[in-house]
């Protein structure tokens, strides 16, 4: 078990290293030059002033150093939590910009992932036992999982926001309010949060419910279930075993789906102009703010890696087979 976790940790470390390196390379080797774009925005006419500004920005961002030194410095800065300075919101540090956006993304993602997973599993297991429910759930569930996050988000923004006017369709809270701990503000936050959350939740829910339903049916036909039934064990006991065993692939599924869910959340934020990381990515691209883009990606990668690692730990706790250091059947 310890060896298993150590091996996992090594894989995660390696992934992190590669992710950081790729992340570092992207702005440096991609077409487009952030410094030029900043100078262009400043609309300075005199060539000397332009050159002076270029030299200033280059040394500020470290572009005048040899590539290898830039790379090492990038790591050092990163470990210090220094992700550079945002060009879009110059001169705010990228770190500060991200830290302001992260709570919004987490507030969307965490409940959407956890609640859809719990509710989906529960509902899938429940539906597997009732034919009529199963017959209606199956097509609905398949349609839901096949729906791209963006479609549903747009559909809901249009239907419940624009047409019905129940929910606001943009922003994290109303412009006329100042952030505070008043009920009014919190209620406003919740109102803005609901649609992006719901569109994420619904798509993911369909997927988990279908997955659980299929797994339960598979488990109920497994040999151990037949053996118990032949010995007259009550359906309650057999279903309990089946549910627990069906849970295992769902936990793996959670780890596998995490990336998709995060991507879904980012797109959803864009649709609803929700001020989280997805929104930052859009802004960073629009403003050629490579540092912000880099920092945001890095944050997302780290977040996904940590979440994956947590799921791995949970999995080793619930599945004895991984603890034995074996993958499948002996």
């Amino acid at each position: 078990m310890r060896r298993y976790l150590l091996r996992k940790l090594l894989v995660y470390g390696l992934t992190f290293f590669v992710a950081v390196t790729v992340n570092w390379m992207i702005p440096r080797f991609m077409p487009g030059d952030p410094v030029s774009s900043m100078i262009a925005r400043a609309s300075v006419a005199q060539p000397e002033a332009v050159e002076a500004m270029r030299a200033h920005y280059n040394s500020l961002f470290g572009f005048d150093r040899p590539v290898f030194e830039q790379y090492v410095n990038f790591w050092i800065a990163l470990l210090r939590g220094d992700l550079g300075i945002s060009i879009w919101l110059f001169p705010t540090p990228v770190w500060d910009v991200i830290v302001r956006a992260v709570p919004y993304t987490i507030a969307l993602l965490l409940p959407a992932i956890l609640l859809s997973w719990i509710a989906g599993n529960w509902f899938g297991a429940f539906a597997a036992r009732r034919r009529w429910l199963d017959n209606t759930m199956l097509p609905v569930g398949y349609i839901l999982t096949a729906t791209p996050y963006m479609w549903l988000a747009i559909l809901m923004a249009w239907g419940l926001g624009v047409v019905a006017g129940i929910f606001p369709v943009a922003g994290g809270y109303s412009f006329e309010l100042q952030p505070s701990w008043s009920w009014e503000f919190i209620g406003d936050l919740a109102l803005h949060w609901f649609l992006p959350f719901a569109s994420l939740f619904i798509v993911a829910f369909g997927g988990w419910a279908i997955g659980m339903r299929n797994m339960i049916i598979y488990e109920l036909e497994a040999d151990y279930a037949n053996y118990l039934a032949a010995l007259g064990a009550p359906a309650r006991l057999i279903r309990r075993y089946a549910f627990r065993n069906a849970m295992l692939p769902q936990i793996t599924g959670l780890a596998l789906q995490l990336g998709t869910l995060v991507a879904g959340a980012l797109v959803t934020e864009v649709v609803f102009s929700y001020p989280g990381l997805g929104h930052l990515i859009l802004k960073a691209i629009q403003n050629q703010d490579f540092f912000l883009l880099q920092g945001t990606f890095l944050f997302i990668v780290i977040g996904v890696l940590i979440a994956n690692f947590l799921i791995d730990i949970v999995y080793t706790v619930v599945d004895p087979r991984t603890r034995m250091g074996l993958g499948g059947a002996a």
């Binding site: 007259g232 064990a233 627990r244 599945d319 059947a329």
Partner: protein
């Protein structure tokens, strides 16, 4: 008499009609008797075994009945049948390797199983440990997960679990098929030992391997295409078989005691008839070297040609 099966007909419901997998089988099983059930793959052995403990969703009782210890069994009533399961009739499945829940420690699974059947675990624990020891298992298998056990250990664990409540009838369906030859013998011997010690009153030992059956069975029943063709003491079946099919089975063995692995009959070409619409007359006649006109017209009845020796053949 532990078990009395009378003209039992169990068919499978399919889209193309009913498969007459068990088409009027009559036999008795005495106290302390081990009945070896033999016959080619597809002749209805598992159907008989399942009918006696738990019919699957497609099986339909189409006639006849079963009596256990003088009591009629509601074999086609899944709920009513439940009280007989495990307590009175038990099963060692063919799939012993995967019969245990992979995510429960074995001891806990046994506890949950027996308690769900109204038996206090504390009341059987001592006996459980004793029997595990008897089959050569350490008590600590109870704190292990199935994946930590070898195939042979799992097999023995399942044997102990299945017989823990001392059932009147134990059905062992192809329990040895997945094992190597030496383990097969050991498992067969252990099962006979269970009977000798009274853990089970009587047993139906299903296998397509007649030479293995011969080692532990008191009587052997041979089936063909859903019918009983011959039933007699193990020695009579092997030394003086009367039915042409049994004779072919015995002749296809290089010598008694050597296992034959070929499921098809090497001696006789052809295949058993479809059980969707079985032909009239003797079901074996297409492959029978002794067939004559009457075999096509009339079905041979099961007759007792010598004491305890039953044959269904016009020339038997």
């Amino acid at each position: 008499m532990t078990l009395r099966v009378t003209d039992l007909k169990v068919y499978y419901k399919t889209l193309r009609g009913e498969v007459k997998a068990l088409d009027g089988v009559t036999f008795e099983l005495g106290d302390a008797e081990i009945l070896g059930l033999a016959g080619e793959s597809g002749c209805g052995k598992s159907t008989l075994g399942k009918a006696l403990i738990r019919m699957d969703g497609r099986m339909r009782l189409r006639g006849g009945g079963v009596e256990l210890d003088g009591e009629r069994l509601p074999i086609d009533d899944d709920a009513a049948m439940n009280r007989y399961r495990y307590h009175r009739i038990s099963l060692i499945p063919q799939y012993s390797m995967s019969a245990l829940n992979p995510t429960r420690r074995i001891g806990r699974m046994i506890r949950e199983l027996v308690e769900s059947r109204g038996v206090r675990y504390a009341d059987v624990e001592e006996e459980l440990l004793r029997r595990l020891k008897l089959v050569g298992l350490d008590p600590d298998v109870l704190s292990r997960y199935p994946i930590e056990l070898s195939g042979g250990m799992k097999q023995r664990t399942v044997m102990v679990i299945s017989t823990l409540l001392n059932p009147s009838l134990l059905i062992a369906d192809e329990v040895t098929s997945a094992l190597d030859v030496s383990t097969q013998k050991a498992v067969a011997k252990a099962l006979a030992g269970f009977r000798d010690r009274g853990f089970v009153k009587s047993m139906i030992f299903v296998t397509h391997d007649i030479s293995l059956t011969y080692q532990i069975a008191d009587t052997i029943m041979v089936m063909y295409a859903g019918k009983l063709v011959e039933k007699a003491s193990a020695s009579a079946i092997v030394s003086k078989p009367r039915h042409p099919y049994t004779q072919a089975l015995i002749n296809s063995l290089p010598e008694v005691g050597v296992r034959y692995t070929d499921r098809r009959l090497s001696g006789i070409p052809g295949a058993p008839p479809s059980l969707l619409k079985p032909p009239a007359g003797c079901r074996f006649r297409d492959r029978c070297p002794k067939a004559f006109a009457r075999c096509a017209a009339e079905e041979p009845p099961v007759t007792e040609v010598a004491s305890g020796h039953f044959v269904a053949c016009w020339k038997g």
